[in-house]
């Protein structure tokens, strides 16, 4: 076109453009005034203009495709075998890949020819191996091996199917595939890898440039060049690959074990697939290529936890630079996925991300077990089913939930823990503590008696003015024990003295000593009076108490059974004395989880004391109080509270109620209110009253004083005043230490309850420290077979689990379980509770089968419990969560329903 004409056309074009579009035709006619050639040109330009919208709109850009070939290569346009080399198209660890054409005149076929760099024997052997591998991998999504040979200068070569496609990441972006479309495409990649793995071939160098997608959307996996042969038979003459060569890999996609040069399994491919998937989805790899180069990248791969895709995208967005709009920034990445960057993060968060991250675990065993499982999880996601990968986090949520659940009942402290555990199962020493209280209370009373007794006996000039002065009491007892044999007192008096000293030793936490003294008493009366004597029964009851405190429950059972037989024969079946034995025996039943028997024995004892002593007698009120405790363990809370209130009412009505017993009654009612959501203000006034009855120096009642402090602490915790709760517990510890010294089981009990409080407060390190202290005290006093030790271990397990130290926690909970099984039998409720705690830890560790097994055992044991009791509810809740995570929905729903009974 002439320059003038061109300028003329442009002028007219611009004039027409100034008019509304519908007038253009008219305008051209008008402006060109009969010059048809001119009009045609203007129309042509206008027409082009209408269609040119968007042409060259986006500034030019280009993309790099593969490693650069070496410019000095002179091989192009030469022939290798029957193939004419056309162009270098890639370069791998073993050599270069060329586009070539079959040149033997038969048919024209484009192929990829891989020329091995050097002619060394090892490589040749590997090539032979590779030919065999590839020949065994007939799959539509795996590039086929066509031919192979050796060049005249001795360099081996392989001829493979030529794939004209784009690396998968580039393809996805170019096609602007959505996340779902990308995942679907990725499933095809997985099918190919699955096939290879089934043929025992590990790819070992999976990366986008080895995963091509053709314009028609066909996926082809290339280059099994460094594939390791898992089956040695397939390997043929190939020599084992050297470590160095093994590490000739693409570091960005290499698994930690590959980077370290360790044994490679299919799990390495899973890792690389994870990196590829990460990149396809998020537009970036989990780890940046760091400043420190390869060594730094290798360290990162082996040590650092990769950020989740959404976290990485979020971080990129935060540090956005102006360039990000275009150059691989979050906006561009999201746009290539048909979404916005917040939208992309939302899509990736949760299931998709969990799937990717499961592939990227450092430990091969923690990744998917196979490519099939990864495929299945992706398909689950695509069809809206729960993914396996999130099980771990479900456990985490369960754990969280369990924690929250524990928090709900935060008020209870020592008592709560036992009740949460359900029925009779005292976690800690909850009802061991209740027992301890009863027993210690009695023992302390007895110790006043023993004081009188010993004082009278020895004419001691040193009056025991301070009951808490243990050194004096201990001295006295030691002196008394050493001189007991010398006494020529009546056998009954001596036996009584031995029993009383046994009790006093129990009170001092010297269980072995207590047992020995009770045995001495028993031997003495048996020798003196034979088996059928009231005093033998008395000695047996004391021995039973010593056994019980020492954790020898079977022996305790046997001793009390024997005592009862003797009493029934000697004193008759309705003797009042039977009630003491029955109440003691019921305590052991409670401890072993046999609540029905405990209730039956307690009611028997109660009937006896009512008949012999009347409704307001101390023994009757004590029996009622025991019955109420059993109701509490039975989760019959309303009945328990009613009975406790009735005891309190009757006690208050007495002319001069025993302040110790009155304070116990006050504490029982108050505890019920705190633990079961009653009126906290009323509870506080009850606790304060109990405390006022036993100010230091007003009695020997240090046990009830600590009880009151603990109950008040629970109350403060329920109110959220954690500082005061902690202060009160620490005061309890101090009180116990003042009374019993540092090394006493009752001191470890208060330490334990303080430790658990700190655990609930989230002060885990301090909690651990305190519980370790409790553990040390237990080991020094009751020993490692005692249930007290098991209690401390359980508490420690919870703290460690909260710290994320799951394996240690597991080991401690397991030890606790073993101790309890040995001491309390495998059917005890407390065993069910320990099983549950261990199961929760196992769930968190992802050991589902084991957790299921433990929980089913726990269900079995607790099947005798009333529906809706806390322990069965907790077990069912755990099972429901477990089955939900395993996708066993019916079972989950079943247990969920059971867990909700009574809730």
């Amino acid at each position: 076109m002439e320059k003038d004409l061109r300028r003329q056309v442009e002028d007219l074009f611009e004039q027409v453009l100034d008019r509304p579009e519908e007038e253009w035709g008219e305008a051209v006619e008008e402006l060109c005034s009969g010059d048809d050639a001119l009009a045609t040109e203007v129309r042509r330009l206008l027409s082009a203009h209408q269609r040119a919208e968007g042409l060259l709109e986006r500034p030019f850009h280009l993309e790099t495709a593969a490693d650069s070939p070496d410019q000095s290569d002179r091989i192009l346009d030469t022939k290798i075998g029957n193939y004419l080399i056309l162009q270098e198209i890639g370069r791998g660890g073993m050599g270069r890949v060329y586009l070539a054409e079959r040149a033997d005149g038969h048919f024209r076929q484009r192929v990829a020819l891989k020329l091995i760099r050097e002619a060394d024997a090892d490589l040749q052997a590997r090539v032979v191996a590779e030919r065999q591998i590839l020949a065994s991998l007939e799959h539509p999504n795996i590039g086929r091996l066509l031919d192979g040979g050796v060049t005249p200068d001795g360099r081996p070569f392989l001829v493979m199917e030529y794939v004209d496609g784009l690396p998968i990441d580039l393809y996805c972006d170019r096609m602007r595939l959505s996340i779902r479309e990308r995942l679907t495409l990725f499933l095809t990649v997985l099918k190919a890898v699955e096939h290879a793995h089934r043929n025992l071939v590990v790819h070992r160098d999976l990366k986008p440039s080895n995963i091509l997608v053709t314009p028609s959307g066909e996926v082809k996996l290339l280059d099994f060049g460094i594939a390791k042969i898992l089956n040695p038979n397939l390997g043929g003459p190939s020599t084992p690959p050297t470590r160095d060569r093994d590490r000739a890999l693409t570091p960005e996609y290499a698994s930690p074990e590959q980077v370290r040069g360790e044994a490679i399994t299919t799990a390495a491919d899973l890792y690389s697939l994870g990196v590829v998937l990460y990149e396809i989805l998020a537009g970036c790899r989990p780890f940046e290529s760091p400043q420190g180069g390869l060594p730094e990248l290798a360290r990162t791969i082996c040590e650092d936890d990769p950020p989740t895709p959404s976290a990485r995208l979020g971080a990129t967005e935060q540090s956005r630079t102006p360039d990000d709009e275009e150059a691989g920034g979050p906006v561009e990445i999201a746009r290539a996925r048909h979404t916005t960057s917040p939208g992309l993060r939302r899509q990736l968060k949760g299931d998709v991300e969990a799937v990717v991250m499961k592939c990227l675990r450092k430990e091969p065993v923690r990744r998917y077990g196979s490519v099939e499982l990864l495929s299945q999880d992706i398909r689950h996601f695509l069809t809206g089913l729960p993914v396996e990968a999130r099980r771990g986090s479900r456990w985490y949520r369960i754990r969280k939930y369990a924690k929250r659940h524990r928090g709900e009942a935060i008020a209870a402290g020592l008592v709560t823990v036992s009740l949460l555990a359900g029925a009779a199962a005292a976690t800690w020493q909850a009802q061991e503590a209740a027992w301890e209280r009863d027993r210690a209370r009695a023992a302390l009373r007895e110790s006043e008696e023993v004081t009188d007794f010993l004082l009278g006996l020895f004419q001691s000039s040193d009056p025991l003015e301070t009951p808490g002065d243990t050194v004096t009491a201990l001295d006295l007892l030691t002196r008394g024990a050493s001189r007991a044999g010398e006494l020529r007192a009546e056998p009954l008096v001596r036996a009584r003295m031995l029993r009383v000293m046994s009790r006093a030793n129990l009170n001092l936490g010297r269980y072995g000593e207590a047992e020995s003294l009770a045995n001495q008493a028993l031997e003495l009366v048996r020798r003196e009076f034979g088996e059928e004597h009231e005093s033998v029964a008395e000695a047996l009851v004391q021995l039973g108490a010593a056994f019980r405190s020492g954790g020898k429950y079977d022996s305790a059972h046997a001793a009390l059974d024997r005592a009862r037989e003797i009493q029934e024969r000697v004193l008759g079946p309705d003797a009042l004395e039977l009630s003491t034995t029955l109440v003691a025996h019921a305590g052991i039943d409670v401890y072993l989880g046999d609540l029905d028997t405990a209730e039956r024995r307690t009611r028997e004892a109660l009937a006896l004391s009512e008949r012999h002593l009347g409704p307001d007698a101390t023994a009757t009120l004590n029996g009622l109080s025991s019955l109420a405790s059993i109701h509490r363990y039975q989760a019959r809370y309303a009945e328990a509270e009613a009975v406790f209130r009735e005891v309190l009412r009757r006690r208050r009505a007495l002319e001069a109620p025993d302040p110790v017993r009155l304070s116990s009654d006050l504490l029982q009612v108050g505890d019920m209110l705190v633990v079961y959501g009653g009126d906290l203000d009323e509870a506080e006034s009850l606790f304060r009253e109990a405390l006022s009855l036993q100010e230091p120096g007003t009695g020997v009642n240090t046990v009830n004083r600590v009880w009151a402090l603990t109950s008040l602490s629970n109350l403060m915790e329920a109110r959220g005043d954690m500082d005061e709760a902690e202060r009160l517990r620490r005061e309890g510890v101090a009180e116990r230490r003042r009374t019993f010294g540092d090394a006493h089981p009752l001191v470890s009990e208060t330490l334990g309850s303080l430790g658990l409080l700190l655990n609930r407060m989230g002060r885990l390190d301090e909690a651990e420290e305190i519980l370790r202290e409790a553990e040390a005290v237990n080991l020094a006093t009751v020993g490692s077979d005692h249930t007290r030790h098991a209690g401390t271990l359980t508490g420690l397990a919870e703290v460690l689990a909260n710290q994320g130290r799951l394996e240690e926690a597991d080991s401690l909970a397991f030890q606790a379980l073993e101790i309890r099984r040995r001491a309390q039998g495998s059917e005890a409720s407390i065993v069910a509770q320990t099983l549950t705690i261990l199961a929760e830890i196992r769930m968190e560790r992802g050991l589902m089968e084991s957790a299921e097994d433990l929980l089913l055992q726990a269900v079995q044991i607790s099947s005798g419990h009333r529906e809706g009791a806390p322990l069965p509810r907790r077990i069912h809740r755990d099972l429901a969560d477990l089955y939900e995570g395993m996708g066993r929905d019916d079972e989950s729903a079943h247990h969920r329903a059971l867990a909700e009974i009574g809730g």
Binding site: R44, L56, T64, S68, E101
Partner: protein
Amino acid sequence: MSDRRKTPGDVTVLLREARRGDEAALDRVLPLIYEELRRLAGRKIRAEANGHTLHATELVHEAYLKLSSSGRMEAENRPHLMAMASRAMRQLLVDHARSRKAQKRGGEWKRTTLADGPIVLETSPEELLALEDALSELEERQRQVVECRFFGGMEEVEIAEALGISERTVRRDWVKARAWLYARLYPEIPTETP
């Protein structure tokens, strides 16, 4: 390759001279910018193998920064130098496309011009060369606008400054150039050809 180690200071001087209308200076400055771009692109391609997107804009900006950072480049020179870089970019891409085409025909191995490695062009070598042919038919100023905008990713205001015209003129030139290019590139549109 031999003279690519010219200092940026040289570029400044040459550029100043080129602005004064010294055609010889322009002839000398362009190869410098060209080489800088080539080097930048090559380095990026090597560093970011496997499907990294390289934007002309990025390269041009970086070439500009590189050339201007140590030299005492006045601010007014920026759009001018950017326009130069855009032209160099165009030249570079066309050379690259030519060598790629040559390879595809199975011709003798030759270095690709843009970078020492295969790259994927969003625009195919054929399209690029067709565009080059079409550009050669455009009026000089329209071609410059296309260069700046498409190959250099420059903003209208920068182009206006670089070419010493108003922004409105830049827009009008762009519309005309685009229509001409379209008509040339896709001539099959229905119309009565003269």
